[in-house]
């Protein structure tokens, strides 16, 4: 028994090292004073400072944030309405839509990126910030719908009936009962969609045109000329933001019943 447990913890530790080791190294080297060298030359924050003076990088950051904001908003509107609308549908159709929603999550993202690019080209939509936003909305809608729907199905239907019984019309039922009870799921979905959009590379890569460079694209192009400590610093920051978003999302969803 004890021996089994020991074996299990060794495996667990190895998995953790494998998962988080590279990230840890990256974060560590973002503080390394040496340039283009694996040798440790003391701690510094100068790479972080350098980021702040890189105009191209700041532009990419602005693009990323704008795209994440708009696509999160778009996905929330569409996904939220879809989740609410599905509740009213017959069960067979609900299951059909559910299947359709999972599909974008399981097909290879490269395919999705290529498909979206071809689609936009066919529509004669010039590739740029707008197409990236649309692309991000496409993969965020299923996420948002599934998250909100999960919560919606956990709500006691008697709550909405009680509100109606107490004189609330359908808008008031939504406004004063359904919406407040969905709030944790809504904030959770916002944070997840925002993070996924901020981190996305593949769909962005295929749907972005000139002038629509996002942070992940920028990192990729910088790497072509070698891994600099600046990239390490940038990646560490991105990592921090993503982790904060996901942690916050889990927190708001767990807070209420």
């Amino acid at each position: 028994m004890r021996r089994g447990w020991a074996g299990l913890s060794v495996v667990s530790i190895l998995v953790m090292v494998f998962l988080y080791g590279p990230i840890l190294v990256l974060v560590l080297y973002s503080f390394n004073a040496a340039h283009l060298s694996m040798a440790w030359r003391g701690t510094t924050l100068k790479w972080y400072a350098a980021l702040l003076h890189d105009d191209a990088l700041l532009a990419a950051t602005a693009n990323s944030l704008l795209i994440a904001l708009v696509s999160t908003f778009g996905a929330m509107c569409l996904g939220g309405l879809l989740a609410l609308g599905m509740e009213q549908m017959p069960h067979r159709r609900q299951r059909m839509i559910e299947g359709g929603l999972v599909l974008p999550l399981v097909i290879p993202e490269v395919m999705m990126g290529v498909a979206l690019m071809l689609f936009f080209v066919m529509l004669k939509l010039p590739l740029g910030i707008l197409t990236v936003m649309l692309g991000h909305i496409v993969f965020n809608v299923p996420l948002v719908t599934i998250m909100i729907r999960t919560r919606l199905r956990k709500l006691d239907p008697a709550l909405r009936e009680a509100a109606a019984d107490l004189g609330a019309d359908s808008w008031q039922v939504f406004r004063y009962v359904t919406l407040p009870l969905l709030r944790p799921a809504i904030w959770g979905a916002v944070l997840v969609a925002f993070t996924v959009s901020l981190d996305d590379f593949l769909v962005t890569f295929f749907t972005a045109g000139p002038g629509a460079t996002t942070l992940p694209l920028k990192v990729y192009s910088m790497i072509k000329s070698g891994v600099t400590p600046e990239i390490n610093a940038l990646s560490a920051l991105l990592l921090l933001i993503s982790m904060a978003c996901v942690a916050l999302s889990l927190h708001v969803q767990r807070r209420e019943v």
Binding site: A158, A164, D165, L166, G167, P180, L181, V257
Partner: protein
């Protein structure tokens, strides 16, 4: 038709029903797929009355309640509240409020906001809301807990909030769906008394769904017994308990000690009754003298109608011999299960009074009862 000649017509119509019922249900039918959930149910509920729909689960009583609340519509028939047909009227426009079995309190709102919900939806001025909510909370003895969330309250307190949330709107009818089912036995009994006194004090008209016969009898002015979508009997608790219209109602409202047999020859005003169990001698029963001899029937008696004696009692009334099979002490009462036939055990009760003769398992005894108490049910 809407000319000046109509008023006398209307006046005479009203004089036909001087005390209009608050609820008038007329032959409603409700189908769930191929199943008839509610089958031709009609009843009236008077103002200030506590009316219970009693029946086992699946009897259709909850469907009736949901149709009164407006969550379901009848497939046939009509449903009037205060003289107005409710067909097609959505739940939020009906003068009724439902107390849900699960209470359905809004978890994100405080006790105060839960109770104030109905008033806010009707856009009552906030100063009035404050006073009315306080009054309702005082009535259910929850004053001082306005700021709590439902999750911070006990089951009994949640029940009170649910009640206050309905009462505060002063509805024409309060609908109660198994209101006390979620409470433990002791709390349940205390709430039965309290609910009844609140109802009387506020003059509420209540329609209550329950499967608990004792609860229905304690709280109701009238009970409607439902089974398989149909309403079998409507009457006061005493009526339905003492004069059930059939064996189902008799069994559902309490213990029914039964003895199947056949109607025999007349003796004076009464008739002989030959039990199906060969070893029992004929008994006398009271039924119509014109009743055909040989007709199968079942005799039924309540436990408290039976007297138990060690010696054959010197009465001309019906007597059944048996042997005590089990003695079940239940505090103030003691239950005796008496075997009166190879496949027949009757139940009787006696107060656990030490001064009364005591019986033990295995004792041969005689059960006797007064002739009019024995009720006959024909197939």
């Amino acid at each position: 038709m809407a000319t000046s000649s109509t008023p006398p017509f209307l006046a005479s119509d009203q004089s036909l029903s001087p005390t209009p019922s608050t609820i008038d249900v007329r032959g409603i039918v409700r189908r769930h797929g191929a199943v008839l959930a509610v089958d031709q149910v009609s009843f009236q509920v008077r103002r200030g009355e506590f009316f219970s729909l009693l029946g086992p689960s699946g009897a259709g009583k909850t469907s009736v309640l949901r149709m009164l609340a407006g969550f379901e519509d009848p497939d046939e028939g009509d449903l009037l509240i205060d003289g107005r047909s409710m067909l097609g009227v959505p739940p939020n426009r009906r003068p009724v409020n439902l107390v849900f079995q699960s209470y359905a309190l809004f978890p994100h709102l405080t006790v105060f906001d839960n109770v104030a919900f109905g008033l806010k939806m009707r856009r009552v001025a906030s100063t009035l809301i404050e006073a009315q909510v306080r009054q309702a909370l005082t009535m259910v003895k929850l004053f001082g807990k306005e700021a709590r969330r439902p999750a911070q309250l006990s089951g009994g307190e949640q029940q009170r909030v649910a009640l206050a949330r309905a009462l505060v709107n002063k509805p024409a009818v309060v609908l109660l769906d198994e209101p006390l089912a979620a409470l433990d036995q002791q709390l349940r009994q205390a709430m039965q008394v309290e609910l009844k006194s609140i109802q009387q004090q506020a003059g509420l008209t209540c329609v209550c769904v329950t499967h608990h016969q004792e609860e229905a009898m304690m709280m109701s002015d009238r009970i409607a017994v439902m089974h398989q979508g149909r309403m079998w009997q409507v009457g006061s608790p005493r009526e339905v308990y003492e004069r059930p219209c059939n064996l189902f109602v008799s069994r559902f409202l309490g213990v029914s000690n039964e003895l199947p047999g056949r109607i025999g020859a007349p003796i004076g005003e009464d008739r002989l009754f030959q039990p199906i169990d060969a070893d029992q001698p004929p008994l006398t029963v009271r039924t119509l003298t014109s009743e055909q001899a040989g007709r199968p029937a079942t005799l039924s008696l309540r436990p408290e109608q039976l007297r138990m004696a060690r010696e054959r009692p010197a009465t001309s009334g019906p007597v059944l011999s048996g042997r005590i099979e089990k003695v079940l002490f239940a505090g103030s009462d003691t239950k005796y299960l008496v075997r009166v036939g190879p496949e027949r055990v009757w139940e009787t009760r006696m107060t656990s009074d030490a001064s009364l003769p005591s019986f033990a398992a295995g004792d041969p005894v005689f059960l006797h009862w007064s002739l009019p108490d024995g009720r006959l049910f024909f197939e």
